[in-house]
Symmetry: C5
Amino acid sequence: MPGQYKHKHNIQKVGMPPGTLLHTGSMRNEKIKISMLCYSKDDWTEQQLSNVDELLQNDCIADVNWIHISGIHIIDVIEKIGNKFKVHPLVMEDIVNNEQRPKLEESKEYIYIVLKMINYYEQTVNIEFEQISIIIIRNYIISFQENDNHTFQQIRDRIKKTNGTIRTKGVDYLAYALIDCIVDHYYIALEYLGEKIESLEDKLMLDPGPNVLKEIHSLKTEMLFVRKAIWPLREIINALARGDSVLFSQDTLIYLRDVYDHIIQVIDTIEMYRDMVTGMFDIYISSVSYKLNEVMKILTIIATIFIPLTFIVGLYGMNFKYMPELEWEWGYPAVLIFMGVISTFMIIYFKRKNWIGNT
Amino acid sequence: MPGQYKHKHNIQKVGMPPGTLLHTGSMRNEKIKISMLCYSKDDWTEQQLSNVDELLQNDCIADVNWIHISGIHIIDVIEKIGNKFKVHPLVMEDIVNNEQRPKLEESKEYIYIVLKMINYYEQTVNIEFEQISIIIIRNYIISFQENDNHTFQQIRDRIKKTNGTIRTKGVDYLAYALIDCIVDHYYIALEYLGEKIESLEDKLMLDPGPNVLKEIHSLKTEMLFVRKAIWPLREIINALARGDSVLFSQDTLIYLRDVYDHIIQVIDTIEMYRDMVTGMFDIYISSVSYKLNEVMKILTIIATIFIPLTFIVGLYGMNFKYMPELEWEWGYPAVLIFMGVISTFMIIYFKRKNWIGNT
Amino acid sequence: MPGQYKHKHNIQKVGMPPGTLLHTGSMRNEKIKISMLCYSKDDWTEQQLSNVDELLQNDCIADVNWIHISGIHIIDVIEKIGNKFKVHPLVMEDIVNNEQRPKLEESKEYIYIVLKMINYYEQTVNIEFEQISIIIIRNYIISFQENDNHTFQQIRDRIKKTNGTIRTKGVDYLAYALIDCIVDHYYIALEYLGEKIESLEDKLMLDPGPNVLKEIHSLKTEMLFVRKAIWPLREIINALARGDSVLFSQDTLIYLRDVYDHIIQVIDTIEMYRDMVTGMFDIYISSVSYKLNEVMKILTIIATIFIPLTFIVGLYGMNFKYMPELEWEWGYPAVLIFMGVISTFMIIYFKRKNWIGNT
Amino acid sequence: MPGQYKHKHNIQKVGMPPGTLLHTGSMRNEKIKISMLCYSKDDWTEQQLSNVDELLQNDCIADVNWIHISGIHIIDVIEKIGNKFKVHPLVMEDIVNNEQRPKLEESKEYIYIVLKMINYYEQTVNIEFEQISIIIIRNYIISFQENDNHTFQQIRDRIKKTNGTIRTKGVDYLAYALIDCIVDHYYIALEYLGEKIESLEDKLMLDPGPNVLKEIHSLKTEMLFVRKAIWPLREIINALARGDSVLFSQDTLIYLRDVYDHIIQVIDTIEMYRDMVTGMFDIYISSVSYKLNEVMKILTIIATIFIPLTFIVGLYGMNFKYMPELEWEWGYPAVLIFMGVISTFMIIYFKRKNWIGNT
Amino acid sequence: MPGQYKHKHNIQKVGMPPGTLLHTGSMRNEKIKISMLCYSKDDWTEQQLSNVDELLQNDCIADVNWIHISGIHIIDVIEKIGNKFKVHPLVMEDIVNNEQRPKLEESKEYIYIVLKMINYYEQTVNIEFEQISIIIIRNYIISFQENDNHTFQQIRDRIKKTNGTIRTKGVDYLAYALIDCIVDHYYIALEYLGEKIESLEDKLMLDPGPNVLKEIHSLKTEMLFVRKAIWPLREIINALARGDSVLFSQDTLIYLRDVYDHIIQVIDTIEMYRDMVTGMFDIYISSVSYKLNEVMKILTIIATIFIPLTFIVGLYGMNFKYMPELEWEWGYPAVLIFMGVISTFMIIYFKRKNWIGNT
C-alpha cells in the first residue's frame, strides 16, 4: 500500500527551521535528469542537461520554456534551481518533500501547484503515487517529478509536431496540458479500481472466504489513498479556473473548467465506488450468516431425525430381564416401521419449513 | 448494470490534445439521422436530412429552428455541425463523449446543457442511460442523442398542432420543453425502482435467500447510478432558473422553476428509497439471524431431550455381570417412567422459555 | 403506507404540455364543496356554494374573504377558480397534483403555499397525508384540500366569535392561522410516532420476534414519509418570516417566527426519533445474537456432559468376550461413580465459566 | 427518561389561538414564589413577594432589578407579569410551555432567552431537564424557572457581597452570570455521562449481558436529550456574543464569548461521548459473537472427539452372531488403544488450530 | 486514556465568578520555572528567574522578549504575570485551566492562543496531551506550559546560533516557530497511531481474539481525543493566516499558511485512520463470523457422518429375539460395507459443497 505511513519521514524535521530542504522519499542513487524544452510558434529546441549548473547558465528566450526535473532526491540541485528563479524556501521545501497534500500557492511572481500522479503498473497490477510539482513563472514552467517514467512524453511529442495547437499558446496552456495529463491518468486508476470491484463481486458470489475479505479491506484502504490524493484537486483547479491569476489567460480558463469537470467526475465515481465496496462488505457478512444458517439446517435435520431413532434402538438394546417387546415375534419389524414413520413425519415437517428442497 | 465502468473508454484519450473528438460509446453501423423542425407561430416545416452537408447549406429562418441529431458516433458529422455554429471544440468533445456528467456551460453566444435520459424498457424490465446534449444558440436549438428512439416525439406532435402554446414561444421555451420531457422520464425510473423495492420487500418477508440479497445489492448499485445521473441537474436547472442568461426570457423562468421543483422531488424520493433499501438490508441480516436462532432452538430441544435419554438406555445396555436393576421385574417399566418424567420436565422447561409454541 | 408510490401517477403526464391539469389522487364521486367565509372586524357572513359558478359571480367585499375548496378531483372547478383569480396555469397544475412537495411560490400578485396535513385516525391507529394548497391574493385566501374533514373548523369558530383577535387582523394573519393549525397537527403525528416507539421498545424487551422487526421497519418507513412532508417547511416558513413579501405585515411575522420555532422543534424530534429507531434495530440484532448464545450454551452444556457419558456406557455395552471389567463385582457401581465424578467436574467447569447460574 | 414524550401536551393546543397561555408541565399545588433582588454598586435590597400584585405595585429603581419567579404553573401570575412589562403574548405562551426548544428572541424593547437547565440528582443518580426563561428589559431581568431549587443561589450570594464585581456591572452582566451558571451545570451532566460510560465499559469487559445492552441504549437516548437541550445554545450565545443587541455592552461580550467557548467544549465532548457509546455497542455485538464462537468450539471439540468413539463402541455392541473381533482375546484392548490413538490425533488437530489452549 | 474525563475538574467552578483562577490539573509540588530569552539581530541574553517578582522588575528591551513559564499550578504566579501585562482575567483563567479547547482570542493589545501539545513517550508507548498557551503582546511572547519537558529546546538553540534566520525576525515569527514546533509533534503522534494500526492489522489477520477488540476500541477512543485536540487548530491557524491581525507581518503569513497546510494534512490523515480503524472493526466481526462458520462445518461434517452410522450400529445392538440379520453369516461385513458406502457418499456430498478441502 503506497504512502500509508508516509508521514513517518516528516518526523526527522521536528524542530528544524522552516525552509530546511530534506528529501523524504527513498534515496535513490540515480542522477537527477534535467530536460529543457523551449518552443515558440515556429520553432522548438530540446536539451538534456547533464547537471544543474548548465541549466543555471542557460537562459532560454523562447516563448515557452519548460524545464523538467526527474528526481527530487538531490537537495543541492533543487536548491540551486529554486535560488535561480527566486522561489520561496518553503516552496522548495515542499518540492522535495514527497508527502505533500495536493495544493496551490499563488504569489505575485509565480504559481506553485503540487499534484499526485497515479501510476498504474500492469505487470504487478497495482498503483503507485508520485508527487509532481509545477511552478509557473513568467515564460517558464518548471516541473518536478519523483521518478523518471516518461509521464509527459505525449505532451513533448505534441509540442514537437509542427501543427499542434499547443505551440501557438503560452505557458498557461502548457500548465493546463500537464494537469490534464495527470487527471487523465486518474481514469486509469478508476478503471483499475473498477475492475478490482468487478472481480471481487464475482468472487463474493462464488465463494466468500477470508481472502475476499482481506481484498475488500485492502481495496477500501487503497481507495482511501486515491481519494486523499484526488480530493484536494477539486478546490485547486476551481481556484485556477475562477481566473484570479493574471498568469492564466481567459482562453485557457475554458480548458481548466474542462479539467475541473473531469475531476468532479472522478471524485463522483470514487464516492460511488466507496458505496459499492461498503455494500460488498455487507454482502460478505450476510452471505456468511446465510451459509451458517444452511450449515445449521443440515446439522439440525440430521440430528433431529437420527437422535430420536438412536434413542429407540438404544432402548431395545437394554439388557433388562423382563422386556416383553423383545420377546414378540414382530417386535423388530414393528420398531423398524415405527422409526420409518417418525422419520417420514420429520422429513415432511422440514419440507413444510422449506428446509429441505432449497438447500 | 449500465454505465458502471464507463470511464474505461476515457483511457484512450490519455495524453491526447484537448478538443480531440473521440466517440466513447459503442460504435454503431447505423447512419446518423438528422431532422430539422422549423416553426413560427403560424407555420412549421419538418425535414429529414440524408446527410450533414444538406444541413450546412440549409439556412432555416423560422422563429425557432430545432435540429435534432440521433447518433453521435460519426465524429465527422458532429465536427461539421460544431464548426458551422462556431461551437468550442471542447463542447464538441463533450457531445461525442457519452460518459459526461450532467453539466451546464454558458458562453456569450450559446448555452450548452448535458443531461442523462433514463429509458425504461418494459420487455427487459431494466433501465438504461442515454446522454442528451442541448445547444441553445440564437434562434436554434441543436439536440444530440445517442440513439434513435423517439424520445421527443410528443414534443414534435405538440409543435405541429395548430393550437399548441409551444408555437407562440421561443427557443428558450423549447429548451424547457426538452428538459421537462427528460425529467418526466425520471418519474418512470422512480416507478421502476419503487416497484422493485416493493417486490423485494415482499420477497424479504416470505423467504430471504441469497438471491434476494443479490437483488438488493444490484438495486442499490442501480440507485447509485440513477442518483449520479440526476443529482447534478439540481444545480444546473437552478442556475438556469436564476435567470442570469439573456437567452431565457422571464416568462420561461417560471417553467424552469417548475422543473426545478420536480428535480428536487425526484432527488428526495431517491434519497428516501436509498434509506429504504438500506433498511431492507438490515432486515435481511436480522431475519437470517432470527431464523438461525429458531433452527438452533429446534436442535437444542431435540438434543436436550434425547441425549440424556440415550445415555440412560445406554446405561442399561451395559453388559456388567452384576447390575441389580436389570434383574428386577419392574426395572424396564420403571426406567420408561423415569425417562417420561425427565422429558416432561424438559418440555415444560422449554415451554416456560417460550421456545415451544411460538416456533 | 400512505404516499409511498405516489409518483406513479405522474407518469401519465410524461410529455404533456405544462399547465395540463390532471388530478393525480384517487377519483372520488363526491361533489367538490365550496365554502366562503367573509369577515371584517365587526361582521361576518358564511356561504356554502352549490357550484363553482356561484362563486364566480359572487364578489365578496369584506376585509378578508376566505374561500375553502374541499376536493380537488374535478379539474373543471379548479380551472375556473384559477382563471377568475388569474393564477398561473402551473400553480393550478400543482394544486390538483396531490403529490406535490411542500413549497412556496411568490409572484407579484399572490403567494402560493403547498403544505402536507398529517391526519391521525384514532380508530385505525394510522396517519395519512393530505395536500393543502393556500393562495393569498389581495384580500382573498383560497385554500384547497383533498378531502372534506373539517380540519379548519376551529379557525372558523374563532372567526365567528365576536371577540376573537383574528377578526381584527388581515389575510396574512388568517394565512398564518391556517399554517399554524397544520403545524399543530404535526404534534399529533409526533405523539403517534412516540407512542409507537414506546410500545415497540417494550415489545423489544419482552420478546423480540420477527413481527417486532417488521414493525420497526414500517415505523422507519413511516418516519421517512413524515420527514419528507415536514422537512421542506423549514425553508418555506423561514422565507415567509424573513418578511420579503409585502402581503405579510410586520405584525404577523412574529407569529410566523413562532411557527418556525415549532417546525424546528418538530424536525428536531423526528431526527431524534430516527436515531432512537435505529438504536432499536441494533438492540433487536444484538438481543437475537445474545439469545442464540444462551441457546447454544444450553446445548453445549447438555452435549458436553452427556456425550462422554454415553461413550462410557457404550463402551461397556460392547460384546467382547474378554472384558475383565464386566466380570468385576463392583464394576457397575465403579462406572456409575466415575461418571458422577466426570459430570460434577463438568458442572463445576461451566459454573466457573458463568454459564450455569445466570442462564 | 425525562422529556421523552413532552410534545404530548402540545396537542391540547391544536387549533387554539396563538398567545393562549397553557402550562404544559405537571400541575403543582405549590404557590409560585417571586423574589426581587435590586442592587446598585453600593446597595442591595431583596424581597420575597407573597403574590404577584405586590410585584405590580412595586417599582424598583435600582440599577439592576432581578425578578425571579419559581414556578410557571399558575397562568394568571405569568400573564400579569407579562402585561406589566408589555411582553408579547407569544413570549408569555413560550414561558409557560416547558417544552420549548432553547431559543433567543430579540425585539426592540427586550431580549427573551429560553434555556434548559440540567439538574443532576445525586441520590437517584439521574438527570432532569428544567426550562429557564430570561427576559432582559431595560434595567430589569426577569427569570422564570419551573421549580424552586436554588439554582442561582450562588449568584445571589455574589451580589450580596460588598466586593463582588457583579455589583459594578449592569443587567447584561447579570444575564451573562445566569447563562454561565446554567452552562456550568452542563459540566456536571457531562461528568455524570462520563462516569456512566466508564462504568458501562467496565461491565462490558467483564460480562456483557442484556442488561448492559439496555443500559447502553438508555444512555444513548439520554445523550440524545442532552444534546437536543444544549445544541441550539451554540447559535444563541453566538448571536448574543456578536453584539448586535444594544442591551449588551462591549465589555460583557468578552464574557459571552467565554461562555460560547464552554458550550463548544460541551458539545464537542457530547459528540465524542456519542462516538464512544456507538463503539461500545459494536463491542457488545462482537463480544457476543466471539463468545458464541468459543461456545461452539467447545461443543465441536467434545462432539468431534466422542461421536466417532461412540460409533466404535456401538459397533462392537452389535449382536451379530459372526463378529470375529469379539472373539479375539486382545480385541478389547486393541479397540481401546485404537480409540486412544484417534482421540490423541483429534486433540493434536485442535491444538494446531489453536482451539485448545486459548479457550 | 489521557484527558478522558477532564471536565470533572470544571465542576469545582460551578457558580464561581468569572475570572476566578483555579488550576484544574494535578497539583504538583515543583516550583514554577520561568526563563526569559531576549534577542535582537545581533545579540541575545537568557535568564532563569528564580521567582516571579524578578520577572516583574525586569524589563527586557530587546527586539524580541520570550518569557517561558513551565508550570501553571501556582495561581499566584500566573496572576502576577497577567496583571503586569494587563491581560484580561478570563484569559488568565483559561491559562491555568488545562482543559481548554484550542482557541484563538484577539484583542487590540494582544493575541492569545491555546494549543494542545501531544507528547509521545517511547518507554511507555503512549501519548499524552499538554496545554500550551501563547500570548503575543507588543515585543513580548509569553508561553505557558504545564510541565517542564524541553519542548522548545530546539527553538532556543536556533535563536542562540548567530546565523539563524529567526534572529532577524520579530515576535510574530517566534510565535510561528512555536506553533510549527507543536504541529511537528503531531506527526509523531500520527506515526504512533499508524504503527498501532499496522500492528493491529497484523494481529487481526493472525488471531482475532477479544484483546484485539479491546485494542481497536482503545485506539479508536485515543483517536477521538487526538482529533478533538487538533481539529480546532484548522480554524485558528486559518484565522491567523488570513492576516487580520496587525501583530503578524505579511512575511510571516506565508509561514503560517505552511503550518495550515500541515494541519490539514494531519487532519486528513487522522480522518483516514478513523476510516481504517472502522474497517478493522468490520473485519474483526466478519472474521469471527467466518470462523464460526468453519467451526460449525466441522461439527456438521462429523455429526452428519457419524450420527446415522451410530444409529445403524445401535440398531443391531437391539436385543430382539427375532432379528434375522443378526443370524446371517455375512451380516456383519454387509453392515460394515453399507456404512462405508454411506460415509463415502456423505464425504462426496461435502466435497461438492466445498466444505472439505478448503477447511
